[in-house]
């Protein structure tokens, strides 16, 4: 089969092809998207109103009437209408150009029109036709306001004029097209002459205002706008002044108050150096034993401090810190037991070591069992550090050296550690505690290397040491136990006041 035949077949196939569609459902979806019917009642009532006004004016103005034949009247009016029409035609374009984006109202023409019948000596009407042309946003509306001093039957005039006017509206007002469809209608396939369809958008009569009124409103609006702008500017100025004032206050404060305050939060890992001594010689074997048994593990530190700095470099710091030490105890305990067992009780040998005789019976056996235990114990401390020092700032970095006292306010140590072998049961219970509940003063020092990360935040690292002056054991106890700390603290400082 040739391709052209195939093509024709395909074309035939699709020529009037339909695909079933639920029209009702489709319509329900489509309807909200469609344009709504435009209300044209305003035009109607506007024209009716215009007519009535015109009629009333004509009735009021026509005091004396001249009766003429009705056929002549209609002829005369036809002429009048033509003249009016010309007038409208000529003026219409100008108004349309002028009134693209604004509301305008013009009295186009108010002229007495003399009729041919006057020349002929007939009693003819003298018309004053005033046509107000209005437009809004490029859509024109013509409001007819006919003042007639008619010496004939006015009602005929008024019947004709609105009709003509509406024709003008229909023929002249905008035609709204869209790009594609305009092209499509203009394209070659339509041989039918394209009629002119008109679609007049009419301004809301309620919104039509006089030129003076409009100008007045515009002026008022402009004034209001200017006032608003001025108010905004004023407010902005005030805000700026306030900001400036705050900055100045800060500067002044800085001059008179050279101190800056920082909140310092730090975490650190430390190593506790454990020192043990025997107060009495009898305890020395015990100390030796304990040194073997007890291993110091890591110590963790967490502290919050307030740091006050003077611009000259002087620093003092105070706060509170918490320290927790972990120790491993490896206890070895021994258990002995004795029991009877059947077996060889006696062996008799000769000089050469050969067994001559063996005696059997019950024998006593002594056993010693070694028990190893691993216990992790923690010791908690709460301290109040008070330090003074000096700092030096260098660009974003600063160095701070601090030294002071670290007052221990609380220490908690699990008691039964050294009683694991139940050696010191009785003498230290009750009124004679083994450990102090607070160890008192220690000396501390650190060297902070800090770097600013934002305007307010600073991070730092600080090698740290603390030497406790007092042991944690009481004098009642024959052992002397003391801890010193060495570690590295990492912290974050937040500037609270500068």
């Amino acid at each position: 089969m040739k391709l052209s035949n195939k093509e024709n077949k395909i074309k035939d196939l699709f020529q009037n092809d339909e695909f079933p569609l639920n029209v009702d459902a489709f319509w329900d979806e489509l309807e909200p998207k469609l344009e709504k019917k435009k209300k044209r009642r305003f035009i109607f009532w506007f024209l009716i109103g215009g007519l009535l006004l015109g009629y009333g004016a004509a009735q009021f103005g026509s005091s004396d009437t001249i009766e003429i034949a009705s056929s002549e009247v209609s002829k005369v009016n036809a002429n009048i209408v033509e003249k009016d029409d010309d007038c409208l035609e000529s003026e219409f374009s100008e108004v349309a150009i002028d009134s693209k984006n604004s509301v305008t109202k013009e009295i186009v023409e108010v002229t007495p029109i003399k009729k041919e019948s006057q020349k002929e000596g007939l009693s003819s009407p003298i018309l004053y036709s005033g046509i107000e042309k209005l437009s809004m946003n490029g859509i024109q509306l013509e409001k007819e306001n006919i003042k007639t001093e008619v010496k004939t039957k006015n009602k005929i005039v008024q019947k004709i004029l609105p009709r003509r006017n509406s024709e003008i509206i229909n023929s002249k007002l905008n035609i709204i097209n869209t790009g594609f469809l305009t092209n499509s209608v203009n394209s070659n396939q339509f041989s039918v002459k394209k009629p002119i369809y008109t679609k007049a958008k009419v301004a809301d009569p309620l919104k039509i205002i006089s030129k003076e009124e409009r100008m007045r409103l515009q002026k008022a609006k402009k004034k209001q706008r200017m006032a608003m702008i001025a108010a905004k500017k004023k407010a902005a100025k005030q805000r700026k002044r306030k900001r400036q004032f705050k900055r100045n206050i800060k500067k002044i404060k800085k001059i008179f108050n050279p101190w800056s305050t920082e909140l310092d939060v730090a975490y650190g890992i430390e190593y506790a150096v454990k020192i043990m001594k025997a107060d009495f010689p009898k305890f020395e074997p015990l100390i030796t034993k304990r040194k073997k048994e007890e291993t110091m593990l890591e110590t963790q530190f967490f502290g919050i401090n307030m740091n006050h700095k003077h611009k000259n470099g002087f620093v003092f710091e105070y706060g509170i810190d918490y320290r927790q030490m972990t120790q491993l105890y490896e206890f070895s305990s021994y258990k002995e037991r004795e029991y009877q067992k059947k077996g060889v009780t006696e062996v008799v040998e000769d000089n050469f070591g050969n067994t001559i005789r063996e005696s059997y019976g019950m024998k006593t056996i002594h056993e010693t069992i070694k028990i190893n235990r691993h216990i992790y114990k923690r010791q908690y401390m709460v301290n109040v550090p008070l330090s003074i020092g000096y700092f030096k700032m260098k660009r974003k970095y600063y160095f701070e050296i601090l030294g002071g006292v670290d007052i221990n306010v609380f220490v908690k140590r699990p008691d039964p550690i050294i009683f694991a072998e139940a050696i010191y049961d009785t003498p230290f219970k009750g009124s004679h505690p083994v450990f102090y509940s607070k160890t008192g003063i220690g000396l501390s020092g650190s060297f902070k290397i800090a770097r600013k990360i934002t305007k307010r935040l600073t991070i730092y690292g600080a090698p740290y040491f603390k030497v406790n002056l007092r042991p944690i054991t009481t004098l009642n106890y024959g052992l002397y136990e003391k801890y010193h700390f060495v570690g590295l603290h990492l912290g974050l400082k937040m500037n609270l006041y500068q």
């Binding site: 092809d17 489709f26 097209n177 469809l181 369809y197």
Partner: protein
Amino acid sequence: MKLNSLISKAIEHDRVAQKTIVSQFAPYLFAVCKRYLSHADAKDALQDAFVLIFKNLHQFNATEPQFQYWLRRIAVNAALSKIRKSSYKSELYLDTDHLEKTRTPKVIDDLETQDILKLLNLLPEKQKQVFNLYIIDGFKHKEIAVFLEITEQNSKNLLFKARKTMQELILDSEKIRSR
């Protein structure tokens, strides 16, 4: 109700008249859209098309066949706009079952047509669109150029290529069938 009076009423935004037009032409236009788009997208395109139709109906004044042609143009344009917007990979969406029901057997041998449509789907995108627009919808190159935003000569070239490819494809398929 005559079409002209329907149109004039629809211009006045008479919902009854508009619905009548929709019910009369929607299945036809839906079939047109469906040739370019999937079912759901075709429905969207059809909605767009009807919105455009009622918006611009006042520009139309001709007889019924021309009206149908006018509607078809709008529907095709709506479908192509949809493709352009979503860079749609169009296929010839053809409900063959439906065709079998609605077509009279005398018009065409269905099987062959289906084969051709399958072959059409093998064409490159633009060639397929041009083929579809020119052969099936009967648009001129000038119009196709506007639709697809290409030059007229380009449209001709694409059609030539499409035809050539189709020729080869048909010959191949006939050879296979003869075996």
